[in-house]
């Protein structure tokens, strides 16, 4: 897909995120908006997904012979739901059920309600990288040449399990894995530097044995180029980590530059002001 088309999808996904969170007056818009460009790029460009004869995506839990994405920071679920729906995994109108009773779109993603595109529950932080490593090793054991992707938050780096996984993947040469850290510099109690400084994540992951790249996660051209470079590094003995600078709330001017919109829903006026900044490219649900 051309970069301009990806940008158009991203604009619609950002509208979907805001409308989902507004409708139930709960959820996490900030990080969802910040990571939109990455997930759109992955699902509409970089990832090789299983499709039927008509080119429609089909969901198999095992993900055999297709690329797999795991969202470890599950609170940005409105983003994942929008991207999955827009990619064709489930009806777009189902986004209207987000966080409501009897919905498959739980506050945090889960396969428990059999939502197509979701393979693991996430929400309790720090677990996704381990799961991604396991699936990457399953692919190697099955001689499946596809790739596993995993996104974590920078606040999530506080969790000890992340570092168990960080140590394991290079030791076992899990080189069919591309992980990302969303470095938006914010977590619930404030700036990451104040709550619990990650210090130099590049130096840390390099010391653990990862191949580390950096990118501006809100510049679609750079996201496309960095993903292409990361894929060229697969199969060379090391897992790949992409440190991704993003702006929490990216795409909506009054939501950017603060942790205030981490877990707060916009009111009616704020929604209208935000939607006015985002083109309705694919049609609202």
């Amino acid at each position: 897909m051309q970069t301009q088309e990806l940008k158009n999808v991203a604009s619609q996904v950002r509208r979907d995120i805001l409308r989902q969170v507004h409708a139930c007056q709960s959820g996490h818009p900030g990080g969802s908006l910040g990571c939109t460009d990455l997930l759109v790029e992955l699902y509409f460009n970089s990832m090789k997904l299983a499709q039927d004869a008509n080119g429609k995506v089909v969901f198999n839990m095992s993900g055999a012979n297709e690329d797999i994405f795991y969202l470890s920071n599950g609170h940005i679920s409105p983003l994942l739901y929008s991207v999955l729906a827009r990619r064709g995994y489930f009806p777009v109108k189902e986004l209207g059920t987000f966080r409501q009773l009897n919905s498959r779109l739980q506050g945090h993603p889960t396969p428990h309600e059999h939502l197509e595109g979701i393979r693991i529950a996430s929400g309790s932080l720090g677990q996704g990288l381990s799961v991604a490593i396991g699936t990457a090793q399953a692919k190697k054991l099955s001689n499946d040449p596809s790739t596993v992707f995993c996104l974590m938050g920078d606040g999530e780096q506080n969790e000890g399990q992340v570092w168990e996984a960080a140590m394991y993947a290079p030791h076992h040469q899990v080189d069919n894995l591309i992980a990302f850290i969303d470095e938006n510099g914010q977590q619930i109690d404030g700036p990451t530097e104040k709550v619990m400084s990650n210090r130099d994540l590049e130096a840390k992951y390099k010391a653990f044995g990862w191949n580390v790249l950096r990118m501006d996660g809100n510049d679609m051209d750079e996201v496309v180029a960095t993903l292409a470079k990361a894929k060229s590094l697969l199969g060379k003995g090391s897992p790949i980590m992409i440190l991704m600078k993003t702006e929490m709330g990216a795409g909506v001017d009054f939501m950017m530059g603060s942790h205030k919109w981490h877990g707060v829903a916009p009111n009616d006026q704020q929604l209208a002001d935000a939607l006015a900044q985002l083109n309705e490219t694919l049609g609202d649900y």
Binding site: M61, S62, G63, A64, I68, T110, P111, H112, R119, I120, A121, S122, G123, S124, G126, Q127, G128, L129, S130, V131, A132, I133, G134, T135, A136, Q137, A138, K139, L141, S142, D144, G160, Q161, E164, A165, M167, Y168, H171, H172
Partner: protein, 316 residues
């Protein structure tokens, strides 16, 4: 029926033998271990199938997550360590990545209960059955001897869904038949009796058999069941026994809170209120010591089962 035995073996070696069988017979089975290969008796599996073994180092949380990821990829992971580190330490990982996510992961843990002995209470988990049985969809199995642990290990590979398999370190009599088919959730009726029901699990099953022999000398006939599966509980077998005896003693190497006895009481209180006595650890931690001495001190042996049986009968 008189129960005898020729050898004593540890249940963990039964697990190792089951894994050795699976290394030959089920190519989808993979094993993970957090730096305790020797204690879990995994040497034969690793020798036969080195590519299907994953050493995680001392990082149990990561091991559970990797297991969930391997299960998604179509494998049947057996995640192994000591019971304390494989349940309590990683409860949230099991809850979210395995149970809630519905993954086909087998959590197989040795050194459960007091009988690991000298290492003391830091390692003697007595809460693991409770923790695991509370998770929706989790099967909980606590086999009684080497043969049954081997059979259970092989059986859970055929079952689709999360399982907690609990076993231990001490050598105990091998009295169940070799190659007896293991049916998850199906209690085994060991001794026929009409005065008191004894429901035992794990290492306490042999003690229950010994208790029944002592009771018989006193003219009391105990109906003894081996409840190797705590969840799902074989309520039909329990009900059938209770209708003959009218009272029950549960016996387990676990806290009374949250254990087999708890499950039995919950079922009976709703279906057939019955006098019940509990053999288990009564809201305390363990301590260092020889396994048999610990079982004596904490009241987890045949003598304790006899005492509780007599009490249950008088309360009828």
């Amino acid at each position: 029926m008189k129960f005898t035995y020729e050898t004593k073996k540890d249940t963990r070696s039964g697990f190792g033998a089951g894994m050795e069988y699976l290394s030959h017979n089920n190519p989808k089975v993979v094993a993970l271990c957090a730096d305790l290969i020797g204690s879990l008796k995994l040497e034969a599996f690793i020798k036969n199938s080195p590519e299907r073994f994953f050493q995680t180092g001392i990082a149990e949380a990561n091991m559970i997550g990797i297991s969930a990821g391997l299960a998604i990829g179509g494998y049947i992971p057996f995640a192994t360590t000591f019971a304390n580190f494989g349940t309590g330490r990683v409860y949230d990982q099991i809850r979210q990545s395995v149970a809630y996510s519905g993954k086909n992961v087998k959590i197989c843990c040795s050194h459960a209960g007091l009988t690991l002995g000298e290492d003391g209470a830091t390692h003697q988990i007595l809460e693991d059955i409770g923790l695991m049985k509370m998770l929706p969809g989790m099967v909980v199995i606590n086999p009684c001897d080497y043969n049954q642990t081997k059979a259970a290990t092989i059986a859970i590979a055929e079952y689709e869904g999360p399982v907690y398999l609990r076993f231990g370190r001490p050598v105990v009599p091998v009295f169940t038949p070799e190659n007896q088919k293991f049916e998850i959730g199906k209690a085994i009726h060991l001794i026929e009796g009409s005065d008191v029901t004894i429901l035992a699990t794990g290492h306490l099953v042999w003690e229950a058999i010994q208790a029944a022999e002592i009771l018989e000398e006193k003219g009391i006939k105990a109906d003894v069941l081996n409840i190797h599966t705590i969840k799902p509980l074989d309520t039909a077998a329990i009900l059938a026994s209770i209708s003959k005896t009218g009272c029950v003693v549960t016996a387990e190497e676990h806290q009374i809170n949250g254990g087999l006895g708890d499950s039995v009481a919950q079922f009976l209180s709703q279906n057939r209120p019955t006098v019940q006595e509990f053999v288990g650890v009564n809201d305390s931690f363990g301590e260092s010591g020889k396994p048999a001495d610990l079982m004596e001190k904490y009241g987890l042996n045949a003598a304790a089962i006899v005492e509780k049986s007599l009490k249950a009968i008088t309360r009828k």
